[in-house]
Amino acid sequence: MIRVAGLEVGFGHGRRRVHAVQNVSFTVPEGASYGLVGESGSGKTTALRAIAALVPPAAGRIEVDGRQVAARPDRAFRKKVQMVFQDPYGSLHPRHTVDRILREPCRIHGLGDIDGRIGHMLAEVGLGPAFRFRFPHQLSGGQRQRVAIARALILEPRVLLLDEPTSALDVSVQAEILNLLGDLRAARGLTFLFVSHNLAVVAQMCERVAVMMNGRVVEEADAGQLAAGALAHPYARQLLQASRGYDRELARSLVRFE
């Protein structure tokens, strides 16, 4: 479903150019869930944004559903690929009601029975009709993220790009949102590309994982290897250890990779 080959993304010019993503390649089959993990600044979010055509790639190929992603994609691509952002406090327009937020994508793509769709979608993400005409500031973080998920799914996409969808939420809400995403994926047969810095979350959500460091993929593993802790690259092992919890020994043993 998603094929990325030799992807490069950079910002800035000349000597101050930052190579955010360097020679990244991976393939996500239809209906699969693929994880991109790495610390802050490892280029995982930038890679995701390049697939969503939010930032232009400098080199390489991105294919979704067998077709190369254009710099200015058409509506069909937009309907097929949707995204959920990290910060639910910044990804909802502060002056739009939930109703307006969900109505807009339907209008853009000329979908029928908008009212029915909105009601149905809200129910599906676990928000009742009482939430329909609220403003984002009247919602909690978890409720906001549910609205963001509803906004992404109301177009009935086949690919969902998830940019750390739970890292801005507190732990109990994280589990709820992850369960919701898992259920929705099973019900709709969605393809997930899941970006996170938390290996435990990715291990729960994804069948296959790529570990990124400084803009490169250093290791690819499947869920079984991850659970067994059978990772080859020292950075990936360190990341795995870090995700299992914090202790003094571990903190002292951490190494910086350049």
Binding site: Q82, R134, F135
Partner: protein, 298 residues
Amino acid sequence: MTGLRAWLLAEAPRSSFQARAGRAWLAWLALRRNPLALVGLAIVACLVLVALLAPWLATHSPYDQNLEARLLPPSPAHWLGTDELGRDLYSRLVWGSRITLGIVGLVAVIVGPLGLVVGTLAGYAGGWTDAVLMRLTDVFLAFPRLILALAFVAALGPGIENAVIAIAITAWPPYARIARAETITIRGSDFIAAAVVQGASPLRIIRGHVVPLCLSSLIVRLTLDMAGIILTAAGLGFLGLGAQPPMPEWGAMISTGRQYVLDYWWVAAMPGLAIAAVSLGFNLLGDGLRDVLDPRQR
């Protein structure tokens, strides 16, 4: 009353209209806590009422001359006295409020949208569009406002319509600047990225997502600028380039009263007081609105 309050403050509104009304009600509650802003609102409301009810409020015709009653001091017959042609100053002030309100309204209607369009376009498009539009703005900003307005009126010919056009042409650049600055901060936010991912066109994003967030700071700026607009209009009238006699425009009234200011102070002072009061009213209201509408406080 309690039923309406509950409807406005409902936790779970049942329609978009109810949600928006509730929001407006909260803004009004915030404005009500600021007594100075209420004074400003009262003055502006007074101006609007006087302009609407001018035919009933005026005691005399604003144009009828009576040379036997010229330059009379304030008295029960002529509440604010008479001018050099024996016209009743109070009635002229009342009718003049229509002209002032008209100027302010027209300038606002031209300047707000113009600045908004130029600023949001420049800010959202960036690159060449931004450079060209902003240099154009700089050209207008480089001249002192009254001087530029004078030049335009001189070129267009004196008259109240041309004064309005000249003021509008000189007043829009700061609005474009504000709108551009706001747009640039909004452009990078996730909700704009989300709209892009949904396939929204740049026009839709500017109209539906960027403009609503720029609007409040523009409204605040506009109310604060009203005083300046009134003064510029009065200044043009004073210089004989705005309203033409016998129109009861407040600036022009000060201009004619100037010759008699030492012996007959009220001829120039009354319209001067009116200008001062209305300018102050708009300023106070603008200050209050800034506290209520400032997006950083929400």
